[in-house]
Structure formats: structure tokens, C-alpha cells
């Protein structure tokens, strides 16, 4: 931006204080989380007007259970998107991994945890293979994983064999999606989460003060703390008034928080962002770009498998449709709707959760209204398109304002 442009922009800001600026930031994705929260509120209002069961504790608990599979798969997708790549195989991988677990558990009588571990290992191995093919032979990830999508769907049918469906009976597996904690345990979770978050914020703040940074008012930290604490308390109160806090939600939350930490606070995460932003710059900085790529696709495969296990647990079964239908597209659309860029280098793992909430609410609401699948498919398609358009517009805006 030239000096004169900067001056006019400043004047404009003086004349129209903050509102236009805030709007611009929402559109451009700086405040994409605000954009998503506004979207969620809008969705909730619309469905609540049509059907007052939508915001009931029972339905909100159902909603949380419905989004765990998509959310878990999206966690891996976020990493792939951060690289500026795409993984079209995650749906098929989730189905295949779940089938492997089901066959080992039901037909071969394996211990539940071993069967789950085997499923996760299958997902990781597939991700590693696809990542290696993509980075070693410089084939577009789109093509490698599209081939994977077909091949792993075939493998799913093969593994399931002639029955085409396997019912899971082991309570250790079905418990994953069907255990609810008592009110007391729920409040303990809330206390631990809030305390841990507060401690992390306070620690970070103390380090910055100790290092002598002058721009350190504790106010933003306090606001963030109050905000997060309020959300946690409200969520636990709602879940407790129905069946309690579900184990599945805690699993999803743990993965989101853990993988967000890896993305934002570790050198590996920094390298993922760097490769997604400018792969050549990353290479010249001494980052082993191909190793990062393989690791990211391995993460995507692993998270897909974990999502598949969760889906099987919720359904009490694995069948030929497992991991099929629109699961793949929704898992990719979620993070994009919530502000992770399809073009790489921008986003956060939180968008996996937020995006799953948006998509989950829409599909849950339409189910409550008993809309036909014709309408549901068209609305879902429209939401996906909208997400990509918002991302593309945000990118263009960034470019015109000098932020590439």
C-alpha cells in the first residue's frame, strides 16, 4: 500500500469508525470465527422458529453426537488444507478402517482396543502411502487420493465380504459413542478445562511480562478466559440436563485441542503453515518439505480412521455405506466454511469443530423438519458452494489490500 493510499484509508477509518473495518475483517477471515458464530446463531434462530425442539437439551446432545465423526475427520482435513492440498480419500479410509476393526473384533474375537489400534494403523498406513506417492512423484494430491477413494471403497467391500454388514457387539467399542458421564463428572470436566485454560493463559502472560514486552495489558486474556469459561459452563449445563457429557464429545474436544496445539505451538505445525504458504521458501529455509507432506497425509489418514471407528460405534455396525455418502464432502466443507483456506497456509483446527457444528446443525435441523432428501441435498450443496465462495472472496480481498 502506498503512503497516499494509507492516508486515505486512515481518513476513511476516522470518518466511519470501526464498523466498516470490522465488517471487512469478518469478510476477510481475520474474524472468521465471529462470522461462523453469527452463522450458527442465524441457523439456530431459523430452525428454532420452525421447530421448537431444535434448541432442546436432547436435540443439542444429539447434535454433538452427530458431529463427532465429521469433526474428527475434519481435524485431519484441516492439516491437509493448511498445506494447500486436498484428501478425497478420507471418507473411504474411515469406512475401510472401521471395517477392519469390525472384522477383527467380531469375526476374529480380537480385544477391542487392539482392533481399534489396528484400524487406526490401517488409516495411518494409507495416509502415509498416499502422502509418499504425492510428494515423491509430484502427482497432484487430488488425483492420488481420488484413486485412493475408489480403491479403498473396493477394499471396504472386500473386507466386509458377502454379508455386506457387520454388527458390533463389544461394549468397549460401542461405548465410545454411547457412554454418558454423570452430572458430577461433567462438572469436574468443566472445572478441569477452565482451570487448565486459565493456567495456560496466565503462564503465557507471565512469560511475556517477564520478557519485558511493553504491550501487555491482561485485558484480552481476561476477556478470552471469561468467554471460554462461559461457553464450557453453558455446554456442560445443557448436556447434563439431558443424558450427561458424552465420552465422544470429550474425545473430539481432546483431538481438536491437541491438534490445534501441534499446529500453532510446535515447530512441526509452523512448518506445515510454511509449506502451505510458500513451499519453495520452506525448502530453502531447510525444512524437509516432503517429510512434512507425508506426515500431514498420515495425520489425515489417522484422523479418518478414528472418525470411522466413532461412526461404527455410534451405528453399532459397519456396512457397505460406511464412510460413504456425503461424509467426505462435509468433512472438507466444514473447515472451509469456518475459515480454513482451500489455498493453504491459513486456518486453525478449531474450524474443524466450528464447521462441523454449522454443517451438523443444518442437517440436524432439516431432519427435525422432515425435509425430503431432495431438499437436503440441494441445501447441503448450496452451503458447500457458499463456503468455497466466501473463501475465494476473502482471498481476493486480502490480495487487493496487499495481503497475499
Amino acid at each position: 500500500m502506498s503512503a497516499s493510499e494509507a492516508a486515505t484509508a486512515d481518513e476513511a477509518a476516522e470518518r466511519r469508525p470501526t464498523t466498516s473495518e470490522t465488517l471487512r475483517r469478518i469478510v476477510q477471515g481475520d474474524l472468521s470465527s465471529v462470522r461462523v458464530v453469527l452463522g450458527l446463531v442465524l441457523i439456530a434462530v431459523i430452525f428454532q422458529i420452525q421447530e421448537d425442539r431444535f434448541l432442546s437439551a436432547q436435540n443439542l446432545t444429539n447434535l454433538m453426537l452427530q458431529i463427532t465423526t465429521i469433526g474428527l475427520i475434519s481435524v485431519g482435513i484441516v492439516y491437509v488444507l493448511l498445506l494447500g492440498e486436498i484428501d478425497l480419500s478420507v471418507g473411504a479410509v474411515s469406512g475401510l478402517s472401521a471395517a477392519v476393526m469390525a472384522v477383527l473384533s467380531v469375526k476374529h474375537g480380537w480385544n477391542a482396543y487392539l482392533a481399534i489400534a489396528a484400524a487406526v494403523a490401517v488409516g495411518a498406513a494409507i495416509g502415509c502411502l498416499q502422502g509418499s506417492l504425492f510428494s515423491r512423484f509430484v502427482v497432484p494430491s487430488f488425483v492420488v487420493t481420488l484413486a485412493g477413494l475408489l480403491a479403498w471403497e473396493g477394499a471396504l467391500l472386500q473386507v466386509l465380504g458377502q454379508t455386506g454388514s457387520l454388527n458390533i457387539t463389544d461394549p468397549k467399542i460401542t461405548g465410545l459413542a454411547n457412554i454418558f458421564y454423570s452430572d458430577t463428572v461433567g462438572w469436574i470436566f468443566a472445572a478441569v478445562i477452565i482451570a487448565a485454560y486459565g493456567a495456560a493463559l496466565a503462564l503465557g502472560y507471565r512469560r511475556r511480562v517477564a520478557a519485558g514486552f511493553d504491550n501487555t495489558s491482561p485485558l484480552p486474556q481476561i476477556v478470552r478466559f471469561v468467554f471460554v469459561a462461559a461457553i464450557v459452563l453453558v455446554a456442560v449445563a445443557i448436556l447434563n440436563s439431558d443424558r450427561g457429557v458424552p465420552l465422544a464429545v470429550m474425545i473430539l474436544l481432546a483431538f481438536v485441542v491437541g491438534m490445534e496445539y501441534v499446529a500453532k505451538q510446535t515447530s512441526f505445525g509452523r512448518h506445515v503453515f510454511a509449506v502451505g504458504g510458500n513451499a519453495e521458501a520452506a525448502r530453502r529455509a531447510g525444512i524437509r518439505v516432503n517429510r512434512v507432506r507425508v506426515a500431514v497425509f498420515t495425520i489425515a489418514g489417522t484422523m479418518a480412521a478414528i472418525g470411522g471407528v466413532m461412526a461404527a460405534s455410534r451405528l453399532f455396525a459397519v456396512n457397505q455405506n460406511s464412510g460413504g455418502n456425503e461424509l467426505l464432502l462435509l468433512a472438507i466443507a466444514g473447515p472451509v466454511i469456518a475459515g480454513t483456506s482451500l489455498f493453504g497456509g491459513r486456518g486453525s483446527v478449531w474450524t474443524a469443530l466450528l464447521g462441523a457444528l454449522v454443517i451438523g446443525s443444518i442437517s440436524n435441523g432439516m431432519d427435525l423438519l422432515s425435509l425430503s432428501s431432495a431438499v437436503k441435498l440441494m441445501v447441503t450443496g448450496g452451503v458447500l458452494l457458499l463456503a468455497v465462495l466466501v473463501d475465494a472472496v476473502a482471498r481476493q480481498q486480502r490480495q487487493t489490500s496487499g495481503r497475499v
Binding site: 509452523r270 510454511a274 530453502r284 495481503r403
Partner: protein, 268 residues
């Protein structure tokens, strides 16, 4: 000015890309506290020479000596380990990362606390060191946490140069550091290069702009069609001499200068 044995010495370095002989038996040297301007027409082999030193495109033949010892530089990490830092023409910054993240890219500081096992970043320390380094170099950036993509061309170039200094290098290679910069920004970058010389670094500057080269270089090295085409002490030479060497017009005079140069070398 140059003292003692050169820090970095290339002898008979050649590089071929298919039918193109990009470098043909080039001898080149840079000493501590010396700024060498590397000039030549498009396709003369300037960037190829820098990439050979930086380990991006290792040479096919020839010898590289660093601090008097023969070394092999077959990948960028080799060059970095020796203490050779490169600032590329296309900057090689990640626009989506902030100034601190870009400065420490590939050599992130790891937190000493409980996050060590996960290689947790020590953001506070990195931000601190970034602030120190930039103020040492008199580089002013509005906010260290602003994304590099939002900075001006001059600021980006200064970030790129500053980044090359983080690993405490002995030699810094700059590929067209002033290309696409306005006059005041060019001045800032040239000033920054002078401070590198004051820090007793060996500096190699590729540039098309002879005015810039004469403003900062102690010595000017000319490449033409992949071959060494002349070497001048900046104080003694004129732009006309250098242009003649670049274009190859007046071969005879060119040779004289080379002879002159080697005589001077013997004196030293």
C-alpha cells in the same frame, strides 16, 4: 577491506544444464569484511553461481574452499552449516507467516519447559531476539507480529536480509537485493548491506544496477556467458569498464584488466 585468505573460494567451478554451459571454470573469492558485486547480463550465470554456493544447484565440477578448507556443498543445509546464508531474488519469505516466524523459519527456538518433547515453540524468546536483531540493524517494522505479506517491498527485503543473519553466518549472498525497490527503500537496503560489512561478513551482491554496485561494493566481479569476464576494484574502475566487460565489447581491454587484477592479487 579484504584481509588474509579469502573466506570463500571457488576454483574452476562448472555447471551445465542440458546443452547450456551455465558456468564454465569460474574462479571466485570473497573475504571477510568485503562486499563483492557480482554483475553480468541476463543468463551470464550470476544466479547459477550463487545457487552453486548455496547448495541449491551443486556444481558439476570444480572445488569450493571455505576458510581455506575444501568443502562439499550438495544441499542447502550444507551451506547453512558452514555459515553461508543466501537471500534470494524472489525473497523466499512465507507471506502467511509473521515477521518473527519468517526470521526463525527452519531454525525455530524450542521452549525449554515441559513442552520440549513436542518441540513447542519458544515464541517469547524468538520475538525478543527478533526485536534485538532488527534494532541492531536499524530496521524498523511496524509490528513484529504483522504478516510479511502486508509489509512493503523494502521492509520485506530487510526482513529477508535480517533473517540470513540469524544463524551467525560468515558469508551472505544477496541475489538482486534492490530489484523492484523504490529509491528510499533501495537506500535502506544498501545501508543494511554496509552494516553487514561492518560486522566483518563476506558479502556477495548480485545486481543489475551498476550504480548500486558501485555504491557498496569493494570489488566487482563480471560474468559473461558463464565465464569470468573481468574483476575490478570498485574505487579504481569506472562504469564504462564494467559495462565493456559485461557486454564483451573491447575484448582486448578486458584482458588487460584481468592481467591488472592478477598482478594486484600477487601484490596482496
Amino acid at each position: 577491506m579484504a584481509t588474509g585468505t579469502p573466506l570463500l573460494e571457488l576454483e574452476g567451478v562448472s555447471k551445465r544444464f542440458g546443452p547450456v554451459q551455465a558456468l564454465d571454470r569460474v574462479d571466485f573469492a570473497v573475504s571477510a569484511g568485503e562486499v563483492v558485486g557480482l554483475v553480468g547480463d541476463n543468463g551470464a550465470g550470476k544466479s547459477t553461481l550463487v545457487k552453486a554456493i548455496a547448495g541449491i544447484n551443486p556444481p558439476d565440477a570444480g572445488m569450493i574452499r571455505f576458510e581455506g578448507e575444501e568443502v562439499r556443498i550438495s544441499k542447502p543445509q550444507d551451506a547453512t552449516a558452514l555459515g553461508i546464508a543466501t537471500v534470494y531474488q524472489d525473497l523466499a519469505l512465507c507471506d502467511n507467516l509473521d515477521v518473527v516466524a519468517n526470521l526463525f523459519l527452519g531454525r525455530e527456538q524450542i521452549s525449554p519447559g515441559p513442552g520440549r518433547a513436542s518441540r513447542q515453540l519458544d515464541e517469547v524468546k524468538m520475538e525478543h531476539e527478533t526485536a534485538d536483531l532488527l534494532s541492531n540493524l536499524a530496521v524498523t517494522i511496524p509490528s513484529l507480529r504483522s504478516e510479511v505479506g502486508t509489509l512493503s517491498g523494502g521492509q520485506r527485503q530487510q526482513v529477508a536480509v535480517a533473517r540470513s543473519l540469524l544463524g551467525d553466518p560468515k558469508v551472505v549472498l544477496l541475489d538482486e537485493p534492490t530489484a523492484a525497490l523504490g529509491v528510499p527503500q533501495t537506500k535502506q537496503v544498501l545501508e543494511l548491506i554496509r552494516r553487514l560489512r561492518e560486522r566483518k561478513l563476506g558479502v556477495v551482491v548480485i545486481s543489475h544496477n551498476l550504480a548500486d554496485v558501485f555504491a557498496i561494493a569493494d570489488r566487482v566481479f563480471v560474468l559473461r556467458l558463464g565465464q569470468a569476464a573481468g574483476e575490478f576494484q570498485a574505487e579504481e574502475a569506472t562504469e564504462e569498464h564494467v559495462i565493456a566487460a559485461i557486454t564483451g565489447i573491447g575484448e582486448g581491454r578486458d584482458k588487460n584488466h584481468e592481467n591488472q587484477q592478477s598482478e594486484e592479487g600477487e601484490k596482496a
